[in-house]
């Protein structure tokens, strides 16, 4: 009887750690990191309450910086309402930075780039996927991970050319008839976006 008891006891101990890890698969990192200085300073001032969690506890762990240049670039392309590409291994991406089209290869220098409306193309082997992005930011890290954050993105083949022409005409007209600086700025933005759309369709 006691042999059974020890077996059951061991099983119950083993089961406990497995139960603790059940959470959303989108969320739990391999090793949750907690900011210890924050927790300590919290405990000193407010000893009765648990400190709030911080984003570092929910981060997906990032690969460390390798010593040699890796062969593939890892791309995370996120939008507010979806993650278009997450940790996808590609050969190259071309991002529409404010200084022009910028090509990113594995081993690129760490960079922070602001994006302007334009075409983002993802090259993987022989496939090229093109998206038209509204503005955003791109971070390229030392470990050949590129984060592209945009507000809106559409695959280029889903853009309607006639609507683009119409929009361009409309905003050019608004720009010429704009009175205040605010209206001028808005009309200018419209013109920029639509001309970028135009060149995306043709180029």
């Amino acid at each position: 009887m006691f042999r059974q008891a020890s077996r059951i006891f061991a099983r119950s101990i083993n089961q406990q750690p497995k139960m603790m890890g059940r959470a959303f698969s989108t969320d739990v990192p391999a090793t949750p990191t907690v900011d210890s200085t924050f927790v300590e300073s919290w405990k000193k001032v407010i000893p009765n309450m648990e400190p709030p969690k911080t984003p570092s506890a929910f981060m997906n762990p990032r690969p460390p910086t390798p010593s040699t240049i890796p062969s593939k670039l890892t791309v995370n392309f996120v939008l507010p309402y979806a993650s278009e590409l997450s940790t996808k291994e590609v050969d190259m991406v071309i991002v529409p930075a404010t200084t022009g089209q910028m090509g990113v290869l594995p081993g690129h220098v760490p960079t922070i780039a602001e994006l302007k409306p334009g075409v983002l193309s993802v090259h993987e082997g022989n496939n090229v996927t093109k998206y038209f992005v509204s503005s955003g930011f791109t971070f390229i890290h030392a470990n050949s991970v590129a984060d592209i954050i945009a507000i809106e993105a559409v695959p280029v083949d889903q853009i309607d050319p006639s609507l683009v022409q119409k929009g361009l005409a409309e905003f050019t007209q608004k720009l010429s008839s704009a009175a205040t600086d605010l209206e001028k700025a808005e009309a200018q933005i419209g013109v920029d976006v639509h001309s970028a759309l135009n060149s995306a369709l043709t180029g």
Binding site: F38, I46, P55, A82
Partner: protein, 320 residues
């Protein structure tokens, strides 16, 4: 039941007995009249039972509504989770940063009956206020949502910079949140923004979370002094006139992205908390109904027994 007993007792009492109809009416008349010891009222208990049953139905319906709203918003919150990760990967997470002007953005719900999540957010906001207080430091609140406003206005009225309600009148979208973020950034001076919300972990568990967004000047200062932002200098800045301009845009973009995710997660937590609150409420109502039913039956049987006793003793008095 009383009638069957009378029938069994039989023909002996047929004559002196009054017919069944008047008995029932006399019972009812006595119940509604101001009471003596004779007849115990079941009307009061019956009224209570009716109202408790209504409450049970209402809370069950509210639970269903919250469940369907949760389903709708949960996918959007999960999809927006990738939005803040690049910023934390680049700039790190520095909740213990020491700055002069802290702004605490508390996110709460507009409607009540959602359990304890709003109180938790307010408690943590107040604790952060205490933590970041000090000489030459000031901490202000920006409140999103009616419930936190009601709680914080009581003792921290002078510290509230801005309060925004009716966030969920239209379905949440990024444009609305970015306009809101723009508003906040324009009107409030800040060195560090701390966003406090309830992160949706699962339908029954909500984790209070605090995200920190630093102003560009603080980012530069931290980058120079080393530590977590130390290798920010190794990043080349593409475009823009100066590094400062890019960092400014970056900070604003980061704030609007983090705020968007926070608002969605909080909305999910609100619906989940409301579901479990309404669920326990309808369960309590069910238990209360069971107890009341027992009381009702006991009362009813006692009054029937009393009537029976009176009749029988009356009849046996006549006889003997």
């Amino acid at each position: 039941m009383a009638m069957a007993a009378l029938r069994r007792e039989g023909r002996r009492f047929a004559a002196p007995l009054i017919s069944p109809q008047p008995i029932r009416s006399s019972l009812i008349a006595e119940e509604q009249a101001p009471l003596g010891v004779r007849s115990i009222s079941t009307q009061v208990v019956r009224n209570r039972m009716k109202s408790v049953k209504n409450i049970q139905k209402i809370t069950k319906a509210m639970k269903m509504v919250a469940a369907s709203k949760l389903r709708a918003i949960q996918t959007r919150a999960e999809n927006s989770r990738g939005l803040w990760q690049p910023f934390t990967a680049l700039l790190g997470d520095a909740p213990s940063v020491d700055v002069k002007k802290n702004v605490i953005v508390t996110i709460s719900s507009d409607k009540g009956l959602c359990g304890g999540i709003n109180s938790t957010s307010v408690k943590i906001s107040k604790a952060m206020h205490k933590l970041t207080a000090g000489p030459e430091k000031e901490t202000k609140y920006v409140i999103l949502g009616e419930k936190a406003k009601a709680q914080l206005i009581r003792d921290s009225k002078k510290d509230i910079e801005l309060s925004i309600t009716e966030l969920q009148k239209n379905p949440l979208n990024y444009t609305q949140v970015s306009v809101l973020a723009d508003d906040i950034l324009k009107n409030v001076e800040y060195d560090a923004l701390r966003i406090i919300f309830n992160k949706f972990h699962s339908v029954v568990s909500f984790l209070p979370t605090m995200s920190t967004v630093l102003s560009p000047e603080v980012v530069e200062r931290e980058a120079e002094s080393g530590g977590k932002l130390g290798d920010l200098d190794s990043y080349e800045i593409e475009g823009g006139e100066t590094k400062g301009e890019i960092l400014q845009n970056l900070a604003e973009f980061q704030f609007s992205c983090v705020l968007f995710n926070a608002v969605l997660e909080n909305a999910c937590s609100e619906q989940g908390a409301r579901m479990s609150a309404m669920d326990s409420s309808s369960r309590n109502a069910g238990e209360m109904l069971d107890r009341l039913t027992l009381t009702y039956n006991r009362t009813r049987q006692a009054s029937i027994t009393t009537e029976l006793i009176e009749i029988i003793s009356g009849a046996s008095a006549l006889e003997g």
